[in-house]
Amino acid sequence: MSQQTLTLSENTTTETPLRVESLRKEFGGITAVADTSFAVEKGSLTGLIGPNGAGKSTTFNCITGVYTPTAGRVYFDDTDITTDSPHEIAQQGLVRTFQIARELSEMTVMENMMLSPKHQQGESLLRSVLPGLREAVIKQEEKNRERVWEMLEFFEIDHLAGEYAGNLSGGQAKLLEMARALMTDPEVVLLDEPLAGVNPTLEQKLLDRIHTLCDEGYTFLLVEHDMNIIMNHCERIIVMHQGQVLADGDADAIRENERVIDAYLGDPV
């Protein structure tokens, strides 16, 4: 626990766009998250691991405004976002993907992607209807379409552009979800098991891509079950157990942490 408090006090805010302080979430008598605190550094790929029921997804849902925490605070770029609604949080640049891919199945891959960009002029009812104002909308749509194609190429799902999202395989849907989240121009991306159901070749490509994006300044917080991926790719790892942060540090520190080994790993990795 001492290490975690250290992280909080030492890091300045610009380097930790996302900070969670004493977060607590209770469902009736069950405490899913109990006084969890951590911070995510800018441009990092931080892993969040823990056994089933450790409170990882609940933490995600509290950060992104899907749940309102029972107690504690969430800060994004120094702004308190604890009580903000999901759309307000997303607009500020903190987006998420879902554990089970939630593609918009009756919409095409292209439509899914075109939904994301921020500040779309055509999202006003008046502008979308009145003839004189539609020119600007079309121009912006063309620009967004170009970006979408680039993003689809980046994730190598451009051949599926016209397909209904509901027809995608599990892995493809995961790719779509990540691409869709990135189209919002986020600062921090929360990825909830983005690699589940993705084949090994694609997995490697996806990880390369995440690293590329990290170098460009994007920040990722990643929930993942595959221990090797977390150990090999994340600069920093937060281990949760029974709703609390059990350990917080780099791969070596986690590997040697006895409490982690007891709670989660069973055997030393």
């Binding site: 759309h87 292209m110 439509e111």
Partner: protein, 430 residues
């Protein structure tokens, strides 16, 4: 025959005008279905021994019916088809639109239901605004809850509205020194929107001559003015259609579609879904209010009986037949439901029914005795037909006629792809 010819040419111009907006294929579907319905009506009219004026009037009536359904199904498609908002209070919103417009336009001396005597266009605008506000007030609490609650709230509200209209205490009341009222159970009388056909005939140059020419071939003046109103209704449907197509093919429509698919995803991508739902609910309600006034309120008299909940369900059935989510489907469904399931059976029972008693045995039924019995009882039997059709649709074609279609929600062609740099490079290297 010149009257019919002119009707045809006018219709053709309208069709070409719509065609430019719609694209040929959809237009052909609508025109084809209409032509089929017209042929059926002409055949039935001839069988019943109608003169030419009667047949033209039949075609007019079936078109007005189809246009009325068209407007309301399109508005409902905006709620249910695009956004997934389960609004089963369509009748209530139609009632508000009709009654507010009626009270605003009706002169203070008009009985039953005295009003403010405002000019009709302003009254129509007022009716639409009032319906939009009613929609907002309904949606505000209901949209915060799960989708089913909106259905419960709207169906209850629609009955509350209808019973309030009927209530004696609202039949006549004084507001800021002016006496207004809904007329209660006696209904409300107001300047008929349908009378605009007469006004057009009198004022627009050339129309009077046309009316005389029509009268010469047996189409009397009331039918002629009715035809003018019919064209106004058809034009309104075309306007509804083009507005809704524009909404559907815009980023706004894309967000609506996303809300229908998964609201949490839409909000996780930064869309304030409550605002979108409120906006589209209010807008759709305003269209329903206008549709109610122009269609059910066309004669200048309505009462609460026009706005019973069954009209809501009929509009839903028409949308399901046409295919929720498709605008062309909405119109096709509206035409099909109103003509084939509603107007034609009514026509048959009015003009061909005798006093057929039920066939005594199965053999007699097979032998042909069932036919006059069906014709006589086609009124109630058509509801059996609607039930059978719905079961068939749910099993075989749950998407309706056109619900399966891809109508991309974007202001640009999403298939169009720029030759991006990385792609060019890839091609060069390979």
């Amino acid at each position: 025959m010149s009257g019919k010819l002119s009707e045809k040419t006018v219709r053709e111009t309208v069709i070409t005008a719509i065609g430019e907006m719609v694209g040929d294929n959809d237009l052909r579907m609508i025109a084809g279905l209409l032509a089929g319905v017209y042929l059926l009506c002409i055949a039935l009219g001839l069988l019943a021994g109608f003169p030419i004026g009667g047949i033209v009037n039949t075609l007019r009536a079936v078109t007005v019916f189809a246009a009325g359904y068209g407007m309301l199904v399109l508005a409902l498609n905006l709620h249910w088809g695009y956004t997934g908002l389960f609004n089963i209070g369509v009748a209530g919103f139609m009632a508000i639109g009709t009654y507010v417009t009626a009270i605003l336009s009706s002169p203070p001396t008009m009985m039953p239901g005295p009003g403010l005597g405002l000019p009709v266009p302003i009254a129509i605008l007022g009716g639409m605004v009032a319906t939009a506000i009613a929609g907002l007030l309904t949606a505000l609490p209901a949209l915060k809850m799960r989708a089913d609650y909106l259905a419960i709230v709207t169906v209850a509200l629609s009955e509350i509205i209808r019973l309030s209209i009927k209530s004696q205490s609202l039949a006549e009341f004084t507001l800021a020194g002016r006496t207004l009222g809904t007329g209660g159970g006696r209904g409300i009388r107001y300047p008929a929107p349908g009378s605009i056909g007469g006004a057009v005939t009198e004022t627009v140059p050339g129309m009077a001559t046309l009316a005389e020419a029509a009268a010469a071939v047996g189409i009397n003046t009331p039918v002629f003015t009715g035809l003018i109103y019919m064209f106004i209704l058809v034009a309104t449907v075309a306007i509804f259609y083009s507005i809704i197509v524009r909404i559907g093919s815009s980023p706004f429509g894309r967000v609506l579609k996303a809300i229908r698919e998964d609201e949490l995803v839409a909000s996780s991508l930064g869309k304030n879904t409550s605002i979108y739902k409120l906006k589209i609910f209010a807008f759709g309600c305003a269209l329903m209010g206008l549709g109610g006034y122009l269609w059910l309120g066309r004669s200048g008299f309505v009462n609460d009986l026009s706005f019973r909940p069954n009209i809501t369900f009929f509009i839903f059935i028409a949308l399901i037949i046409g295919g929720a989510g498709s605008n062309t489907g909405s119109i096709l469904g509206g035409i099909m439901f109103s003509s084939l399931l509603f107007y034609v059976p009514q026509f048959v029972s009015q003009n061909f029914s005798g006093n057929a008693s039920p066939p005594g045995s199965f053999a007699a039924a097979i032998d042909g005795a069932i036919v006059p019995y069906i014709i006589t009882n086609i009124g109630p039997l058509r509801f059996v037909g609607i039930g059978v059709l719905l079961i068939y649709l749910i099993q075989r074609r749950p998407d309706g006629i056109l619900g399966h279609r891809k109508e991309d929600a974007a202001a640009v062609n999403l298939g169009e792809r720029p030759q991006s740099q990385s792609r060019v490079n890839k091609e060069k290297s390979s």
